[in-house]
Amino acid sequence: SAVISQKPSRDICQRGTSLTIQCQVDSQVTMMFWYRQQPGQSLTLIATANQGSEATYESGFVIDKFPISRPNLTFSTLTVSNMSPEDSSIYLCSVAGTEVRSGGYTFGSGTRLTVV
């Protein structure tokens, strides 16, 4: 299965600033997904990122707040913009590739964001 390197693993940020999270995959994958996990909660999908096209955002998430880049088939970034304490969460990327129907999805190690 794919291996994902996600950076940073954690950060403490001031409100009003932005943070960019990176995910690097060791193989080419068609789709990458970005999730948010608020404290003690389940995972909520933010958006799906395909290479060469605009990301598709889920209800409640907008591009201005969470811009995503997908420059190639092994890399994606998620930016959390104009942060407020409510953005404090764990952010995870995930990939689906040729193994998705048999091997499941792979998740990055997560970025624990605290906004103060």
Binding site: F33, L43, L45, L92, R101, S102, G103, Y105
Partner: protein, 111 residues
């Protein structure tokens, strides 16, 4: 729209005991997944269930899928402390690759 419900959401059990946890989903789901998450960690894939009647086992955990009942179960046999974690089930719908997660079940196994 697919909705995934887990119960219970919290479970405290003693080592050596057995228990079954449930995952119901609202509409036809193509695939059903079980994940484990340790505190402060990412998600670890446990099982992928692809068809009605599928049963998979790994160590003390066994997962099954009943697509007619829209139900998956995760059975714990002779629990040990190392199984303490949060367990999520998730499904996909209508050919979409997007995962829809349940709320997760926090399991604590006491010595």
């Amino acid at each position: 729209e697919l909705k995934v419900e887990q119960n219970p959401l919290f479970l405290s059990m003693q080592e050596g005991k057995n228990y079954t946890i449930y995952c119901n989903y609202s509409t036809t789901s193509d695939r059903l997944y079980w994940y484990r998450q340790d505190p402060g960690k990412s998600l670890e894939s446990l099982f992928v269930l692809l068809s009605n009647g599928a049963v998979k086992q790994e160590g003390r955990l066994m997962a099954s899928l009943d697509t007619k009942a829209r139900l998956s179960t995760l059975h714990i046999t002779a629990a040990v402390h190392d199984l303490s974690a949060t367990y999520f089930c998730a499904g996909t719908q209508g050919g979409s690759e997007k995962l829809v997660f349940g709320k997760g079940m926090k399991l604590t196994v006491n010595p």
